[in-house]
Amino acid sequence: MENLKAIIEALLFAADAPLTAARIAEILGECDEGAVKSALLDIKSDYSGRHSGIAIVDVAGGIQMRTREDLAPWIRKLKAPKAAGLSQPALETLAVIAYRQPIMKSEIERIRGVDVSGVLKGLLEKSLIRIVGRKDVPGKPIIYGTNRHFLEVFGLRDLSDLPTLKEMDEEES
């Protein structure tokens, strides 16, 4: 069904976050998830087959249209003034939170050896992390975790997709 593919293509294009097959099926109404999934596979191979500048990728539990990675230099020229990317303190803090979540601020500071107040605030504003709750200890400290947007930004399907943490084994050397 050619039109099904066209509709899904348009939905992927218009969505501002990754879409799940279930959500697409829900929008389509009389269409089951299996049909959506096979149409998605078709679309994916169409795009890569015709060497499109747009790629269809699995990310953050859904599917999203993105520009092809090797074309980044051109897109960056288009978007010139906005320098993207994260600062070193933000990356380090994010790494600690991603691998150790849920985690308290004091714990992050113990690991990084520096105050992380400003960095946390910035990460919250970028929606990369979120407040998960409060720990049930005196003072009820706030605990942090990563957000779904974190997965989207780092192109991860889920947290198990994180690069493995090379914990240096003390016994080793």
Binding site: F13, A14, D16, A55, V57, Q64, M65, R66, T67, R68, E69, A72, I75, R76, K79, K82, A84, G85, L86, Q88, P89, L91, E92, L94, A95, V96, A98, Y99, R110, I111, R112, G113, V114, D115, L124, E125, R130, I131, N147, E152, V153, F154, G155, L156, P163, L165, K166, E167, M168, E170, S173
Partner: protein
């Protein structure tokens, strides 16, 4: 100057220490504390002389290093044949943990980053030929978004006094909500029932304040049949 300082390149005292270890090609499990302490203090002095804003954390680690150094100088006492722990152990553990995450950060940075390596569609409404109101689903809203929304709301109100959210006020609201819940279920209750067997003073005070507030709001009525007697509460009609 003996030490070339680029403070910006260090993410903190642990990072500086890792740098010194790397520079001297030292085994992280066997740090020559005297040498490293000397170099570390050299950096600190240089930073100070450059009037660089030295974060307190650098000084804390300096004192830790000096402390370890002095402990290393003491002859090790082997009591009851038990081996004394190496004064450096704690620091080594911390350094290794930090190093692990520093490397993890590097690996994160090597992933395909959105808005750096790949891009999603940036245009919004105009592509549908009609505007849509953006809504967030409840799952997308977290506590931070709520706090941020409150901040925006009071910022536009343009007065400062509203900026304070104190814990007392929230606790009072909490107590008020609990009492309203109870009254909606049972229509009447008593002060001692509300307190229950929990006797902490703060709870008693907030319960009392909540009742006063709710009386003022005419949400409940309070009766007492005798002085110092049981306070009976019922939902106002």
């Amino acid at each position: 100057m003996a030490y070339e300082i680029k403070l910006d390149i260090f993410e903190g005292p642990l990072d500086l220490l890792l740098y010194l270890i790397r520079k001297n090609e030292i085994d992280i499990y066997n740090i020559p504390i005297a040498l490293i302490t000397e170099q570390y203090l050299g950096y600190i002095d240089a930073m100070k002389s450059l009037n660089l804003d030295l974060a307190g954390e650098y000084l804390v680690l300096a004192s830790t290093l000096i402390h370890i150094k002095s402990r290393m100088l003491l002859p090790s006492r082997e009591e009851d044949g038990e081996e004394e722990e190496d004064p450096r152990d704690e620091l080594v553990k911390q350094l290794i943990e930090y190093k692990t995450f520093k490397e993890a950060a590097l690996r994160l940075n090597n992933l395909t980053l959105l808005d750096r390596d790949v891009f999603i569609r940036a245009a919004t409404e105009e592509i549908y030929n009609e505007p849509f109101q953006e809504e967030l689903t409840l799952e997308e809203i977290g506590i931070f978004e709520l706090v941020a929304a409150f901040r925006r709301a009071i910022a536009s109100a343009g007065y400062e006094e509203a900026l304070e959210i104190d814990v007392e006020r929230i606790s009072l609201s909490e107590r008020i909500n609990e009492i309203v819940d109870i009254l909606q279920e049972r229509k009447r209750t008593t002060f001692s029932e509300l307190i229950g067997d929990r006797t902490d003073r703060v709870r008693i005070i907030y319960t009392f304040l909540a009742i006063l507030e709710l009386m003022k709001l005419q949400v409940l009525r309070a009766y007492q049949t005798e002085p110092y007697g049981e306070i009976r509460l019922s939902a106002a009609e």
